[in-house]
Assembly symmetry: C2
Homo-oligomer: 335 residues x 2
């Protein structure tokens, strides 16, 4: 069943059928109904390839993320997909893992599918040297690139993110106000935003963000495994290092901290305050429930999509939008 079949059955030309399909106004109500009836009766669906060929747009946006099973990224995908769909766009999902080579290949793949734009989800896409990101900049010559929760300079690259520096800065300050002074900072080595948050931590602690943190026992990175955190903290504890608060770059790491406290019989928040980051689902699942910094993911995603829509409509849109973080207070802090 193609447009010719429909036109024949309805006794009109294919142009008229096309007009009806695309909601073009210049069609009599009567013909419109006639065509619509045939479409309904015979269950005709326009062929997206042919359509794409003519329009050179598939109304599809590619979404790349490292790992869609990560709750934070999964939420982002959910928001993005919904926003895109309500704007008439579909989303082609691509989970790349963390290796740049693989990502480059997948990006090419999406490009060859002629997506109208590509959204990169997660700060880990823009970490490291400019050289490593060259493939993104190259791609931006062909389609607009939008980055959720990260930023990269470039002509056709639109970044929407949360101010993680001040998110952590604020969290540390609030801990200090509540009487904490020996504050640990734990982050995930996979996430570049962990580095920016580190600066916020160092600044709030009155240290020079430029100084190397090696040898500083209060700062440590992990691969993301909960038990790794628990074990590290236990060792620290046994070695006699004192600390009365922990700030982590994501909620997962904070769960590890809670597990450590439980294992070593340390009361949270009385003896130890803990603040996570992302305000994800698991912040509510833990016991005690986790105080966490909300990085406004929904707003960020929504802004990302509306920016892209602006680009498609050839409007003037900002290259970079920054939202501010907010601390969601639960049970692991004394404020």
């Amino acid at each position: 069943m193609n447009i010719y079949d429909v036109s024949r059955k309805a006794g009109v030309s294919i142009a008229t059928v096309s007009r009806v399909i695309n909601g073009n106004s210049n069609v009599t109500e009567k013909t419109k109904e006639k065509v619509l009836k045939v479409i309904e009766d015979y269950g005709y669906t326009p062929n997206a390839f042919a359509r794409g060929l003519g329009l050179n747009s598939m109304k599809t946006v590619g979404i790349m993320c490292a790992d869609s099973s990560d709750p934070f990224l999964a939420s982002a995908i959910y928001y993005l997909e919904g926003d895109l769909r309500s704007n008439g766009y579909d989303s082609l999902l691509c989970c790349t893992g963390y290796e740049v080579d693989v990502r480059e290949k997948y990006l090419d793949l999406l490009l060859s599918k002629r997506t109208d734009a590509i959204i990169l989800v997660g700060s880990n896409f823009v970490e490291g040297s400019k050289e490593k990101n060259q493939y993104i900049i190259d791609a931006s010559q062909r389609v607009p690139i939008a980055i959720v929760n990260g930023a990269l300079d470039g002509n056709n690259i639109y970044s929407t993110l949360c101010d993680d520096y001040n998110g952590v800065y604020g969290a540390v300050n609030k801990l200090k106000e509540s009487g904490c002074s020996k504050i640990l900072y734990l982050y995930n080595s996979k996430s570049y935003s962990g580095i920016k948050k580190l600066s916020g931590y160092l600044a709030a602690m009155g240290m020079d963000p430029k100084e190397p943190t090696e040898g500083n026992d209060y700062v440590r990175f992990f691969n993301g495994d909960i038990n790794e955190v628990k074990d590290y903290l236990t060792t620290l504890h046994n070695n006699g290092l004192e600390f009365d608060a922990i700030v982590t770059a994501d909620d997962n790491l904070a769960i590890g901290a809670i597990k450590y406290a439980k294992a070593c019989n340390i009361k949270v928040p009385e003896q130890l305050s803990i603040i996570g980051y992302n305000n994800s689902l698991i912040a509510e699942c833990s016991d005690p429930e986790l105080t966490s910094v909300d990085n406004k993911l929904e707003a960020v995603c929504s802004n990302c999509v509306s920016t892209l829509m602006g680009v498609f409509a050839e409007q003037e849109v900002p290259l970079k939008t920054v939202f501010s973080a907010e601390i969601i207070i639960r049970e692991t802090t004394r404020f």
Copy 2:
């Protein structure tokens, strides 16, 4: 830059270029190199629309799920996406929510994108009357449909799922062996698998699965909100209903049960055993860590994709594959 440009620059015909692109053997090594060099130099990428038009396949599979931010569904998507990609297929994601009308519309949309197949993730897609599923059966006339974690009879519909009936049956039995006798069953009204699990529960409790459960205080459904569960159990507790174990149809509900126990000062697992379902990430985040039934999601997803690949290759494949569940023992049970 299209195939004509390439053919001109390489001094060959477009057919030869096409052969090179598609790895067809009947091309001299010399011409092949010549063409490849032009493609490389000018950065040519074949147009997927035109390709799709000719082949009538985009090498893309549509994935529909209710809510990709649900950790269980997110994991499924992650597995599916990876498996599809390693088979050379992309995935078009579509989050539909739970309303049938919306789903029907979205299914049409995917169909119009000419996906090679459609995967429905979650038992909630096949709940209810046969009438409500007619739109899926209709769609199966056009493309193969695969269902993850649910089953529907039909000619071109391939179901892969876990035996949830016996999953719950086994869980209840194990609780009984460990000395529990008053066992609650809580399930999610959005999920059809909750009903099948209910049968398993009733059978294990020696009740008739066909009898209505209204009025039975030991069985209850929820909308999925953690606090709703906590409040309900607290009320039950205050009303004097005794129970020494809770089985839930997903891990989320079990978290609510843990929160109730904590709020009412009930010791888990000494006074109350709790078993969740899905063995999801949050089972490890809670305190105490949650014993949960693993429904082999990775194997199910992998089987789903390989079945589809079999269908594409016109091999003989099973219409239905069932895996068996396994209890992952953690801290909320006395075994």
